[in-house]
């Protein structure tokens, strides 16, 4: 049961309509940041207010919601957002990637490949990839309009000239549908290849900056690079200490006072599913 003191999914219907219209535009123009009238939510900016407003405009009684924070279902942000939607909508929630129809995420893409019909909702702190290079929004907007991204390539080139490699390890800029350079929100660049031709719809919400953008399913998403410095993802010498996976994004965890370390999958559902399959106990 949802809390009768609130409208279903917290937002009022007119706000949902406004967000829904913006979302349809975002889908029709992949990678373009559509401005929207972001509302104040009962939590501070930086806690995923953009993603929450998108989820609130999407969610219905038939949905099953999964919320992750850095891949994990049981970190503070994920738990509080899941609880928020359970209270305001009463819909089913899950930790299983395969069972979810909506997945709201802070900074990761699940390791389990997403399916057609699922929607991945990203929480975005800073939507414009150009904002650190060109602080004037009027100019950045013009650059997007003209597809003039020389400034971004120069930045990547300077990284290589100074340090021998492109420094972005997260929030690595991508080109969507050969038209717009887009910030994939601070997901590790390890996750970037998953965005390309994904079966699921990807939507992005930035609450403080009041922008919505989207990548439809089966859309080309290319990480920016150079012929002689091709894009590469992070690799680890270790595999997951809990499930043994050697192809996932690993968290480094300090386990005692002597600096002993352990590497484990950041995606808690993926790791636990693998452990269960192996008959191990948690």
């Amino acid at each position: 049961m949802s809390d009768p003191d609130y409208n279903f999914a917290y937002l009022d219907e007119q706000t949902k309509r406004m967000i829904r219209r913006s979302l349809l535009k975002a889908v029709a123009i992949p990678g373009y940041q559509v401005p929207f009238g972001s509302r104040e939510m009962p939590m501070p900016y930086g806690w995923g207010t953009g993603g929450i407003q998108l989820t609130a405009s999407l969610i219905g009684l038939d949905d099953t919601l999964k919320v992750i924070d850095q891949g994990s279902d049981d970190t503070t942000n994920a738990v509080s957002i899941r609880k928020f939607f359970r209270r305001t909508t009463g819909v089913a929630t899950t930790e299983k990637t395969t069972e979810a129809t909506l997945i709201q995420t802070r900074h990761r893409i699940p390791e389990t490949p997403l399916q057609k019909g699922q929607i991945l909702i990203y929480q975005v702190p800073i939507p414009d990839p150009l904002s650190f290079l060109e602080p004037r929004e009027t100019e950045a907007r013009k650059m997007h309009a003209l597809s003039e991204y020389g400034i971004m390539h120069t930045k990547l080139y300077e990284d290589i000239a100074h340090y021998g490699a492109i420094l972005h390890t997260y929030d690595y800029p991508v080109m969507v549908n050969d038209r717009y350079v887009m910030r994939p929100s601070p997901i590790p660049k390890f996750d970037n290849p998953k965005m390309d031709n994904m079966h699921a719809l990807q939507v992005f919400g930035a609450g403080r900056e009041k922008r919505i953008y989207a990548v439809p399913p089966y859309t080309k998403v290319k990480s920016l690079d150079f012929e002689d410095h091709p894009f590469e993802v992070q690799r680890w010498e270790n595999s997951c200490a809990l499930c043994g996976a050697d192809n996932t994004f690993l968290d480094e965890i300090v386990v005692d006072d002597h600096g002993e370390r352990l590497f484990a999958c950041a995606d808690s559902d993926y790791c636990q599913t693998r452990q269960a399959e192996q008959g191990g106990q948690r």
Partner: protein
């Protein structure tokens, strides 16, 4: 006054998810739940208006349906600002596809604000020549009959040089809906 959605919160949410699916997977036909009203527009057209349009959007209607009964209904349930000027419309309803105005009369947005375009809701019947659709949202390609006249398709094709500006279309046949965002390429056999 005839009724609108039985449960405005959940019915509009359901409709929206169907429309979103259609828009993000062009060529996928979705079926909107029917509403029990008698008005000169298709059931799905009405559902789309009830779901997306309100006092902050302007709506253009073709002459066929710009009638008192529908205007009163929309005024009461939707509150849309009905305009006679195609350039001003953020949504436009075309029920008589033979008399559709030239697409260039509708707003296509600007280079800096390509989202300022008009979304056309066009009533047709999904019959006739097959079209092959490709583009974002489509795995490889999809073939289906859209029921759009060739001059209209040519006009749409001519707009493609303006990308990312353009017109998004939502095609309606009874309760069925197929969306054609501006990024979809259409090839007619």
């Amino acid at each position: 006054m005839q009724a609108a959605f039985q449960d405005s919160v959940h019915d509009s949410q359901q409709c929206f998810r169907h429309i979103l699916k259609a828009m993000s997977e062009p060529g996928t036909k979705v079926t909107l739940p029917s509403i029990d009203v008698e008005l000169p527009i298709a059931n799905a057209t009405l559902s789309i208006l009830l779901t997306l349009v309100d006092q902050s959007t302007s709506l253009w209607l073709d002459d066929d349906v710009r009638q008192r009964a529908l205007l009163d209904y929309l005024d009461f349930h939707v509150g849309a600002v009905v305009t006679r000027n195609t350039q001003d419309a953020s949504f436009a309803v075309v029920t008589d596809i033979g008399a559709i105005p030239d697409l260039t009369l509708f707003s296509v947005g600007t280079e800096e604000q390509p989202h300022g375009n008009c979304t056309l809701i066009i009533e047709t019947s999904f019959q006739g020549k097959l079209s092959r659709l490709t583009g974002p949202g489509i795995e490889n390609d999809v073939e289906l009959a859209l029921g759009l006249p060739e001059p209209l398709l040519d006009q749409r094709q001519a707009l493609s040089v303006l990308a990312p500006c353009g017109i998004d279309m939502i095609l309606v046949d009874g309760n069925d809906v197929i969306a054609l965002p501006r990024t979809t390429q259409i090839e007619v056999y």
